[in-house]
Symmetry: C2
Subunit: 296 residues, 2 copies
């Protein structure tokens, strides 16, 4: 269960600056702005080669990926105990990781495990490394709950009956695949799963649906198809919350799909207004669905 | 459980010519040759726009897809009771299907169901239509068991320890996804599923693995990765047996993967020698693995 956002927010607001470790995409900047707009001080750690956004006016330190010792120093001298990862990062190579004597033993054993892990296990390992150094990993769900997808239709368009059926198929498929550490996002059309995301990423999977529809390999005259993005069972939510931005909306529209279903309270929108406006402009729905009942 | 091939073979060898309804790819011709080499008479029904192979010297009738009435007439006048589907077919449009009064009612109700079904349900419907007309659908497993993948290594190369670990991950993933009517084929690398086949087909999925490897988004220095192709639980085996041909082998090699694991006794090779030679030439393994224990 997620922590109560209201309570946690109050305690973290008194905990000094929050460090946003910024990877690629628009999310790190949107999170920094959201926190700052609420009065929380922010320090941005922009990971070189990943974070390409302009982070002014926030205090920003640029570090290469894997610069673990310098990161620790920067966080300590910035007075940050709370650390939030935002945006996408490539996995660093072992040779890129800076060690100091304190972190070396733990980091090495964790990283050796990471090599053979899926995303969930890798991220759990990263979280443990930070926690062992006395930092607190703060998830976006806790830090910026106002960016979470609301339940029901976000914009002007709503799923029709066929789309609702396809959404149910997608939700069930993700629930069943969750334990496999794949399939956070699927596409369904005419009651059938037509694409499953694994390592290729959401955008590539959505583009593939457009190619499949154009190829004539899918049945015609049925539903337009939907994309469904949910939180996986067991997902490391502080480090790997599913994210939807305007480029996701544009990809769904370009693929000729009817819309996008997202887990209400589970998928982060970058940002809420930008996603709503993009969906209305593209003529697709974005619909927040309740998570499936646990244990079913 | 598959029927005992030896016993069934004897009974079907006395049942008049076997009709091979031929779609695209090399499989229909290989099956016709295999049966004919064993003395079974063959009638090829080449579906226009799909079957592009040269079927001489076999008696061949060309029919458009969906020509159900003409097909029935051709099978009856050819003295065929046994019908084998081989190769790939696109789903016919409703407007392409020829009806006669006898088949209309059944066919219509089945086809309306098919619209909303995954492959397994569609194929089950096709089988019922033929069976209701007094034909017997013969699967390749029964008709040409000599084309099934054997257990263990097929050619010169064998999976190393990393590849065997990846194969186990892929086998487990397919078993878990089977009830979803997707995921007959997956790719695994470094202990993680990196691609799942849904509607795009095996070749497109394998090509995607090559792109993923080239993109640097996957961990380096670990395993090369494997493709795993198994029979799905509940799969309509008479109409939809998984098939591996030389083009699959070439795709696996082109993607930089270490090899291909197939379900022993479950995946059809087109043909056994051609696949072995292609694998040896490409420097990859083809390894037959036992199906996972049912009910686990």
């Amino acid at each position: 269960m997620p922590a109560d956002p209201a309570r946690t927010q109050t305690s973290s607001d008194t905990a000094g600056p929050l460090a946003v470790i910024a990877g690629s995409g628009a999310l790190p900047r949107v999170i920094a702005q959201t926190l700052s707009g609420r009065g929380r001080e922010v320090l941005v750690i922009a990971v070189e080669g990943e974070a390409e956004a302009d982070f002014s006016p926030f205090r920003t330190i640029r570090l290469p990926i894997g610069a673990a010792s310098r990161l620790k120093t920067a966080l300590r001298s910035g007075g940050c105990r709370d650390v939030l990862f935002a945006g996408a990062f490539r996995r660093p190579r072992l040779s890129e990781i800076e060690f100091d004597l304190n972190t070396m033993k733990l980091a090495l054993s964790s990283i050796l495990k990471l090599r053979y892990g899926g995303d969930d296990r890798v991220l759990g390992g990263v979280a443990r490394i930070f926690e062992n150094e006395g930092f607190r990993i703060v998830g976006p769900r806790e830090a910026v709950p106002e960016l979470l997808a609301p339940e029901g239709p976000l914009g002007r368009y709503k799923p029709n009956r066929q789309a609702r059926d396809d959404i149910a198929v997608g939700v069930a498929a993700i629930a069943q695949m969750g334990a496999l550490d794949i399939g956070q996002t699927v596409a369904a059309l005419d009651g059938r799963v037509i694409a499953v995301e694994a390592a290729e990423g959401t955008s590539a999977m959505i583009d593939r649906c457009g190619e499949l529809k154009a190829s004539g390999r899918l049945p015609r005259g049925g539903s337009d198809g939907v994309v469904v993005k949910m939180v996986k069972p067991g997902q490391e939510l502080r480090l790997d919350l599913p994210v939807v931005g305007t480029e996701t909306i544009e990809a769904v529209a370009r693929a000729g799909l009817a819309g996008l279903a997202v887990e209400a309270g589970g998928v982060l929108l970058v940002g809420v207004d930008a996603v709503r406006e993009a969906a209305d402009r593209a003529g697709i729905f974005v619909h927040g669905v309740a998570p499936p009942v646990a244990g079913k």
